[in-house]
Symmetry: C2
Subunit: 450 residues, 2 copies
Amino acid sequence: MSEKLINEMTALEIQDYLVSGKSSISQFYAQLMEFVSEGDKKIHAFVNFDARCVEAQTQTLADDRDLGREPGPLYGVPIGLKDIIDTSDFPTEYGSVIHQGRYAISNATLVRRLKEAGAVILGKTATTEFAAMHPAATCNPHNLEHSPGGSSSGSAAAVAAGFVPIAIGSQTNGSLIRPASYCGVYGFKPSRGLLPRSGVFEQSPSLDQMGVFARSLEDIALATEIMNGDDGFDEATKAVAPMRLVKTCQSEPPVAPKFCFFKTPWWDKIDPEAQEAYEAFIAHLGQGVITVLEMPEVVNKAVQWHKSVHLAELAFSLQKEYRHHPEQLSQTLRDQIKAGLEIPLFDYLTAKDRIVHVGNAFDEYFDHFDGIVCPAALGTAPRGLGSTGDPIMQTVWSFAGLPTLNLPLLNCSNGLPLGVQMVGAYKNDGRLLRSARWLVHHFFSEETSQ
Amino acid sequence: MSEKLINEMTALEIQDYLVSGKSSISQFYAQLMEFVSEGDKKIHAFVNFDARCVEAQTQTLADDRDLGREPGPLYGVPIGLKDIIDTSDFPTEYGSVIHQGRYAISNATLVRRLKEAGAVILGKTATTEFAAMHPAATCNPHNLEHSPGGSSSGSAAAVAAGFVPIAIGSQTNGSLIRPASYCGVYGFKPSRGLLPRSGVFEQSPSLDQMGVFARSLEDIALATEIMNGDDGFDEATKAVAPMRLVKTCQSEPPVAPKFCFFKTPWWDKIDPEAQEAYEAFIAHLGQGVITVLEMPEVVNKAVQWHKSVHLAELAFSLQKEYRHHPEQLSQTLRDQIKAGLEIPLFDYLTAKDRIVHVGNAFDEYFDHFDGIVCPAALGTAPRGLGSTGDPIMQTVWSFAGLPTLNLPLLNCSNGLPLGVQMVGAYKNDGRLLRSARWLVHHFFSEETSQ
């Protein structure tokens, strides 16, 4: 493990590496900061990355340790935060010139929780404009001429580039799982209501959900477990008993999990090479593990309902910017806001009312299967930085609020990664992580693939 | 205590009376059923009241007891339920001919909890049409020519008439505290999110709140404590540690509570005699206890915001009835629905967004005062059954979701009761009940008033 380069280590490995004293935290960060500064000149994953802020954090951690404080489960682990998440030391600019230089009064709840666990916020990662469609300057680490996806562009790229083992992002439509697929990293959007959004830019309160990028499922489980829990300020977050996600993720399933694969109604839009990759994936798992099924009819309507809720709430959230600084918004965003302002109230209420029903439409699948598997994207990362790609493969799951993972298991001949999306039962995030880990371990680990 | 008539006993007294065996449950109910059947011929508090359903429940309780089951905290206590609350034995008809004879598949969560605690559902109490404005046939027990208020008309009247010590109602605008004031009983609408609404007719999901009518504050605390808690099905209900409302309510405040009195912007609309009664109330408490203050400006806007959210959601909730059975809806309700359908989405989202802000506007008062006191109604119960009166005194508190009580402390020369409304800090329901009990005990109990 200690022979791994620092840009290859998982969060669990870094914590152990630093706690056990194989490296001092200052040595580790001297090396890491150089690596990131140099590497990010081409990738632009970070929009705010400041050596002094990092030094202040690592110094505090070292001092606390000297004073006898028990190191936390993320002790010394560098983390990137999508630049819609408030931090009191770094600015939070929402990917918009309108908020350039904006400092939040306090840390978002999830930042406070990560720091309490010992994490070091390495910097703020690039987001598309207000986490909507207008791209950031970030490049895909696998090929700089391709998009990393969005809106959590910088977070996905930062993990893929080895800058951080964990980065935090968000998903309102396809903003987390899609970039994870394009960048070839694990991505996780937990069940709606698991992670509090207090101190995070509100794009669409009915749909916004926080999530994690990482190099391993265990790291995903760890970060989610630490950030999970009602803080009393996010109406959508429910208090639940502490979820032992790490333990559950690491445990063996009581019986071999079974999965169903949805080709989805958008299968024909998928790039032929990606279709082949998914077909090969299904064949590799075999019929005992995976059953190919049709998706329930409701998903086509769900896409429309998602749009009504999303655009209406986006227009409401950005009303001040739209009124006072329209010229500083992209044309794409202005058009979205305009469309949002025209949605009739009744359509909005109808759409919002369907959220629970769409979620329930998948209940019966989880009586028979441990996970629903489907494509994570229409293909590998699109060429050029003009578009962050199509979120359609995530829309239904974001709408329903079901937990969903990107598993970076496939590759196409252009050398770019392609993700497998796995969806779990509502509030059964641990079972999803455990089933996913079982699948990866049994069918894609180095021992089994030999 | 045992010398009290059964129609004068509190829930705590009835439970003790039956558990200690001073009466058998069948004797008690034989006597009660006769009393209610006779009394309700004039009052019409109940819309469904069935001796066989009651007998089945009391028989089960007696059998359970014989089998050694510990009697619950509401053992044998008769309870009335507003007819928008689902029960599997009685029909639930929403005060509308459209739903006549409708049987729910299962009990609402709060019914299940009350029954688990040993309560006997005596019957379903009259509600205005869909808990909106069109009156029920219920009369005010204090004077049959006057309205009991609404929409929880039957629940308020049933407690006032001595039919039940506890009845459950709901408040979206002023549907609980106002009838409590008109009927001269204690009423309590807890903090928004305390009582789950699963299995209750949804009129306005952002505003609907459940509550309790009773003859004593301890009974209010007991019923609320039993019904409190997230059931996983009501998005607005938050899991909280069990609230020890009964103990808190019964405890002595650490220091003498202080209150502020808001005359409210609607003081001039209050009936002169009621104004006098409130002035006398202020004088009775004295300056050390109560400070008369102006209400913050935001309340005038809050009334408009309440209207936007309320009518929009009402129109959405009743879409099927409006489309398929318009002729079976009252003109009043049709007009409300029509108005709701015309509200622009942006106004709705703006109004909904203000809910939290309006709640916060009162925070500073609770730094200085244990309760905000204000009139519970514009006067005593209006004459005639054509209108259930004006809910304006509750609108702001319903909108903000703050806990609010009716204290039946005053009377006017027409012999009708007049309530004092007391509002507490959000989620600090115990403190409100304790402060209210202190005030009643120190200034209005028989010993002190002599």
